[in-house]
C-alpha cells in the first residue's frame, strides 16, 4: 500500500451546525481509520516523537500495538506515562510537540498521533469496564491542593502506591480548567468526571468548597496528619489590559465568561446564572483561551464574533486545529490590532437610562511587527493615527492569567518568583519541607500535559521520600 501523504482527516460536525450547539466538534476516528492511520507510522529507529512529548510517551510502541489491532495493549503503553490520555489526545498542541518531530513530517503530513491517542483512550473507556482496584494502604497521608490535571495526576499516582490521598478543591466541581475553562465542545465534561470517578474508586477523597489558605491553611493540613502536600492550584488570576472602559457592563475576563458558560452552565436555557448572549462580541487575545471564548460566544448566539490579536497569524499561539475550526465557523480575525479603549453608552439627559454603562464598541489600533524581542518574537508596534471602532456589545479579555497569590500569602516560607510562580526544584519540592508544587501554579499558564507531567514528578518524589 502506498503511503498516504496526508493524515486521515478527523471527522467533524458540520461548521454551520456546530456553530449553534455545544456538542463535541471533533468526532474521533473510526476503528478502521485509526488502524489505517497507525500504519502510516514508519516506526523509525531514532523515535524523535518521544522527545517531542513532554512526558515521553513511547509513541511508536503504542502505535505498533494499534497496527496489530491490540488497542488495550496500546492503552497500557500510553498509561505508563500519561494519566489523562482521553484529555491530552483532545487538547495537546501536538503540532508543536510530538507531531512536530515526526520523521514522516519532513516530507508529508506527520502521523496523527494525537488523534490516535484519543482513539485508544476513548476505546478503552468504552470497552474496559473493569473498575480500578484499591491498593493496600502504606499508612501515609498526603493532601493535594487543586483538582486540575496536575492535582488529579499526583493523586492517582500516590493512591496507586498505597497513600491515603485527600484532594481539596476551591470550586464546587473537580477538574480545574478542564471543567471551568475548556468548553464542552472541545472536551466533554463526562470525560473529566470519569477520571475523577476512577480516582474515587482508587480511594482518593475529594473535598470540594475548600479554599486552602482560607478554609484551611497548609499548616493545618500538616496538623491534621498529612505528611506531604502537593500544590496544584493553577494560574487562575485574570490579567486585564488597564485601558479605559474595562469596567463597563459587558466586559468580561475570559475566565469569567467561560466559567459562567462551562461551570455554571449558562449556555443552557434553564439556568440560574446569567451571561450576556447575542449581539457582537470582541475577544482580545490569540491563545486557546481566546479561541474557546470566541467559539463559546458564537454558540451562545452572537451574530458576529471578532478575535483581536496584536501579532499576525504566524505568531498566534492557539492550537492550529482550534484556529482552523474557529475560521470555519465564521469567527473573524482582526490581526495586528490592539484595543486602546472600550466605549460605552451614556445618555447625558437621563442618568436612569437602562442602557447607560453598557459596552457599545471597542476602539482598536493597527499594529506592525517590529524588531524581534529577547525571545525572538517580533514586537508589535502601534501605527499612529490608525484607530477605528469595532461596534460590539460584549468584550472578552483573554490576554493571560497569573498564579493566584492566595496560597503564597497564607503559607509562611513558600517562595515564589517575580511572576508569582511557586519556586520548585527538579522533584517539584518547594522552599517548604514536604510541600511540593507543579502545573500552572509553578510555570504560569501552560498546558494540560505539562501540568500532568509535573503531578507525576512530584508523586514520584513523594513516594521515594517515604521509602
Amino acid at each position: 500500500m502506498a503511503l498516504d501523504p496526508k493524515k486521515h482527516a478527523m471527522p467533524v460536525q458540520d461548521p454551520q451546525v456546530r456553530a449553534h450547539n455545544f456538542s463535541e466538534v471533533a468526532l474521533g476516528y473510526t476503528h478502521e481509520m485509526a488502524i489505517d492511520e497507525a500504519k502510516r507510522c514508519l516506526n523509525c529507529k531514532n523515535r524523535p516523537c518521544v522527545q517531542g512529548c513532554p512526558v515521553n510517551i513511547s509513541i511508536p510502541d503504542f502505535i505498533s500495538c494499534l497496527k496489530q489491532d491490540d488497542i488495550e495493549g496500546a492503552y497500557n503503553v500510553i498509561n505508563k506515562s500519561s494519566s489523562l490520555p482521553a484529555v491530552c489526545g483532545r487538547v495537546c498542541p501536538q503540532e508543536t510537540q510530538c507531531e512536530s518531530k515526526c520523521t514522516l513530517g519532513i516530507k508529508f503530513e506527520p502521523v496523527g498521533i494525537g488523534r490516535l491517542e484519543r482513539f485508544v483512550a476513548d476505546w478503552h473507556n468504552a470497552n474496559c469496564k473493569e473498575s480500578p482496584k484499591k491498593v493496600a494502604s502504606n499508612g501515609h497521608r498526603v493532601a493535594i491542593v487543586g483538582s486540575g490535571p496536575s492535582g488529579l495526576t499526583c493523586a492517582g499516582d500516590l493512591a496507586k502506591a498505597g497513600f491515603k490521598v485527600t484532594v481539596y478543591e476551591a470550586l464546587h466541581t473537580e477538574g480545574g480548567v478542564l471543567v471551568y475553562g475548556i468548553p464542552e465542545f472541545r472536551l466533554p465534561k463526562a470525560i473529566v468526571a470519569k477520571e475523577v470517578d476512577t480516582l474515587k474508586q482508587l480511594g482518593v477523597e475529594f473535598v470540594t468548597n475548600a479554599v486552602i489558605g482560607k478554609t484551611l491553611t497548609i499548616d493545618e493540613l500538616f496538623e491534621q496528619g498529612n505528611e506531604a502536600v502537593f500544590v496544584g492550584s493553577g494560574a487562575g488570576l485574570p490579567n486585564f489590559m488597564n485601558i479605559p472602559g474595562e469596567s463597563l457592563k459587558g466586559v468580561y475576563s475570559a475566565n469569567e465568561f467561560l466559567t459562567r458558560s462551562n461551570l455554571m452552565k449558562s449556555f443552557r436555557d434553564k439556568c440560574d446564572t446569567p451571561i450576556m448572549k447575542g449581539g457582537k462580541v470582541v475577544v482580545v487575545g490569540g491563545g486557546n483561551v481566546a479561541m474557546d471564548a470566541a467559539r463559546t460566544a458564537l454558540r451562545l448566539g452572537a451574530e458576529k464574533v471578532y478575535i483581536v490579536y496584536r501579532r499576525s497569524m504566524t505568531e498566534l499561539p492557539a492550537r492550529r486545529e482550534e484556529v482552523e475550526h474557529a475560521e470555519e465557523e465564521g469567527i473573524q480575525f482582526e490581526l495586528l490590532r490592539n484595543p486602546v479603549e472600550i466605549l460605552g453608552y451614556h445618555n447625558p439627559d437621563n442618568p436612569r437610562d437602562e442602557r447607560n454603562g453598557f459596552v457599545t464598541g471597542c476602539k482598536v489600533i493597527k499594529m506592525e511587527l517590529g524588531e524581534p524581542d529577547a525571545k525572538g518574537r517580533r514586537r508589535p508596534v502601534p501605527v499612529e493615527g490608525s484607530e477605528y471602532v469595532l461596534d460590539c456589545d460584549t468584550v472578552v479579555i483573554a490576554i493571560g492569567t497569573s498564579p493566584n497569590p492566595l496560597i503564597k500569602s497564607t503559607t509562611k516560607g513558600l517562595e515564589v518568583n517575580a511572576h508569582g510562580g511557586i519556586i520548585v526544584n527538579e522533584d517539584g519540592l518547594t522552599s517548604r519541607a514536604n510541600v511540593y508544587a507543579g502545573g500552572d501554579a509553578v510555570t504560569g499558564a501552560a498546558t494540560v500535559i505539562s501540568a500532568m507531567g509535573a503531578g507525576k514528578v512530584a508523586a514520584k518524589a513523594i513516594i521515594d521520600s517515604f521509602k
Partner: protein, 282 residues
C-alpha cells in the same frame, strides 16, 4: 450538602438561616463572607457571615429576598440542605487599635454590620450605631444593636418608626456637634454608602465601606467582582472578593459600582418572576 440547622424570618423580606459548616464556623471573622449554591443548577451568591457558633459548627447568614436564588433559599426549611457553602472568603474587618467608631447600617446591610459592631464592643471599643430602614416593618436587629452600642439611632425613610430621614442626617449632626470617631464603617445599599462618605468627608474622618458586588468564585479567579479605586490619584482595579470586601470609601468609584451591580437586572427580574410563579402553582 450543607444542613440548615435553623430558620427564622426577621421581617417579611429578610430571613436568617444557620447552616452547618464547621470548617467555616471555625475560621470566620467579622466582615468575611461565604458563597453558596442552593441546588445543583443554582448560581453562586455571596452572603456575609452574620455570626458563628464554633461548638455546633453553625454559620449564620441573613439575606433579603431579591431574586430567584434568594427566593429559592427562602423556601428551604430547617432540616433540609443546600448544595454548596464555601468560605470564609475575603479579608476580615480591621478592628484593632480603634477607641471609638461609628457603624452605619442600611436595610439588610445591618445584618453584616452587627457582627462588626459586636467585634468592636468585645475588644472594648466604644460603638455608636446608626441603622436605617425604609419603614417599620423592615426593621431588623434593633435589640442586638442596642446591646452592642453605647448609643443607637434608628431611622426610617417614611417616619413609620423612630426618627424619620436617612442615616446621613444624624451622622452630620454628630460630626457637626464635634463628636470624634476613629473610623466610620458603613454597610448597606451603594447609594447610602456613597452619601455617608460624602457627609463624612468635610470632617476628615476615615470611612470604610463593605462592598458586595456580583461574584462567582470568590477566590480572585474571574474578576467579575472588580471595583475601581483611586489610590494616590491613580485609578486601580481591585477584586472585592480577595482585596476586600472592605475598602477605603473615599477611594471607591461608587457610581461605577452601582452601574455594574445592575448588569443583569432584566435577567434577574425575569428569573425571579418565574420562580415566584413556580412556587405559586406548586
Amino acid at each position: 450538602m450543607y444542613k440548615i440547622l435553623s430558620r427564622k424570618e426577621l421581617n417579611p423580606t429578610v430571613t436568617q438561616l444557620e447552616i452547618e459548616a464547621p470548617l467555616v464556623a471555625n475560621k470566620a471573622k467579622a466582615g468575611q463572607f461565604i458563597i453558596l449554591r442552593v441546588d445543583e443548577d443554582g448560581e453562586r451568591i455571596p452572603l456575609t457571615v452574620a455570626g458563628t457558633d464554633k461548638k455546633t459548627g453553625a454559620v449564620k447568614i441573613i439575606f433579603q429576598i431579591v431574586g430567584a436564588t434568594t427566593e429559592k433559599l427562602n423556601h428551604k426549611k430547617a432540616g433540609e440542605s443546600i448544595q454548596d457553602f464555601v468560605g470564609p472568603l475575603g479579608k476580615a474587618t480591621e478592628i484593632a487599635g480603634k477607641k471609638r467608631v461609628c457603624i452605619i447600617g442600611g436595610g439588610v446591610g445591618c445584618a453584616i454590620a452587627l457582627p462588626v459592631a459586636q467585634a468592636f464592643k468585645e475588644q472594648g471599643t466604644e460603638v455608636v450605631s446608626i441603622i436605617g430602614f425604609r419603614s417599620k416593618d423592615l426593621l431588623i436587629l434593633e435589640d442586638e444593636f442596642r446591646a452592642a452600642s453605647s448609643k443607637l439611632v434608628v431611622m426610617t425613610d417614611d417616619g413609620s418608626y423612630a426618627r424619620q430621614g436617612n442615616v446621613t442626617v444624624p451622622l452630620k449632626e454628630m460630626l457637626e456637634a464635634g463628636e470624634k470617631f476613629d473610623e466610620i464603617i458603613t454597610i448597606g445599599p451603594l447609594i447610602m454608602m456613597k452619601f455617608v462618605t460624602l457627609a463624612a468627608k468635610p470632617f476628615g474622618v476615615p470611612v470604610t465601606a463593605s462592598m458586595n458586588p456580583i461574584m462567582i468564585d470568590g477566590t480572585g479567579m474571574c474578576g467579575g467582582c472588580r471595583l475601581t479605586l483611586t489610590e494616590d490619584g491613580k485609578r486601580v482595579t481591585k477584586f472585592a472578593c480577595v482585596d476586600g470586601p472592605d475598602f477605603n470609601a473615599y477611594e471607591i468609584d461608587f457610581d461605577e459600582a452601582m452601574s455594574r451591580s445592575r448588569m443583569y437586572f432584566p435577567f434577574e427580574r425575569k428569573a425571579h418572576e418565574e420562580i415566584c410563579n413556580l412556587y405559586k402553582n406548586a
